[in-house]
Amino acid sequence: MTSTFTTSRTITFTNTATHLAGAAVSALAETLLTIGISVDKISALYGHEKVIASWIEEQSLHRLEITLTPPAGKELAGYSVELDYTAWDPEQQFRDQLARIRRQSAKEPSVAIGTNFSVVVKPRPGRTLSSQPGWRSVDRVLPSFAGGYRHGTVGTGPGGSAVFRSHRI
């Protein structure tokens, strides 16, 4: 006997952008809380979810970078989430590896009390990030985010995926 199974789900790249932005913000926020960033500072990151989703949807966002600045200290590379845009395949599943990333983040060293963080976004080569309220160009020298230790895939979905890296190890 021959059997067939047909899926009929209606999804768009907006779903992928929503999925990846949500998973990325979750991974970054929980990691920052785990290493000792105060909970009242995390709201700034949570508030960026919608803007990040917009940049992913327009496929202009290459990388989210989190810098850490201890009190009276130098700004250092912290964490990054790098986006990869792939061919559109509506049958590709929406997945995440947040449990794995939580296990990895628990091993990260704590920061000094009062440490601040900044969110920096980098566009894909040849693309421009659309203008968003509250975001401006950086006018200071940023730490290098070359290399980094791969903690896991934040999420995957039709047409895109995101990888989480620590730059503190």
Binding site: A21, V25, E49, K50, R95, R102
Partner: protein, 160 residues
């Protein structure tokens, strides 16, 4: 009475959209009471809105949801994410709460990544808890006074 409601998370709804639907469901549920202070409920829910968003985005509400407990009510709110969110229909039907219900408590699930943040944040809230929720709803309002009569049920009896 135990009830479960579902708000699909990412990739169907982002964090803010999910939180708004959960907030509306809780406020509208509590609004059935004649005595519960909705303004205070709104303030406390706003205070923990970002935490609820992070719980939802992180997939922490997939199986162990938010639990709203009031007199005669035990409501679990789940937020599936990923593929599960796509195959789940939104269900935000209003659960019944007695007009005489006077107290309420919202339980946030214990999680690995957010436990400390939750513990710190709920300290400022009278009606939000990070302890384990009870398995059943506490008894409903006592019968006997006019304010405790379930008018909806009475109307249904009359209609039948």
């Amino acid at each position: 009475m135990r009830s479960t409601r579902t708000v699909p998370g990412r990739p169907v709804n982002g964090g803010a959209g999910t939180v708004q639907k959960i907030r509306d469901l809780i406020i509208e549920t509590l609004d059935q009471s004649d005595t519960i202070d909705l303004q205070q409920a709104g303030r406390e829910l706003d205070h923990i809105a970002e935490l609820i968003g992070l719980l939802a985005l992180g997939g922490h509400l997939r199986e162990n949801g938010l639990v709203l407990v009031s007199d005669g009510l035990h409501l679990t709110i789940l937020v599936p994410v990923g593929e599960a969110a796509l195959s789940t229909s939104e269900d935000v039907r209003l659960p019944r709460l007695a007009q005489a219900a006077a107290s309420w408590l919202l339980y946030l699930p214990a999680t690995d990544g957010l436990a400390a943040a939750i513990a710190e944040t709920v300290e400022a809230c009278v009606h939000i808890s990070n302890e384990s929720p009870p398995n059943e709803a506490p008894d409903g309002p006592r019968q006997g006074s006019a304010s405790n009569i379930d008018l909806t049920r009475l109307a249904n009896v009359r209609a039948s």
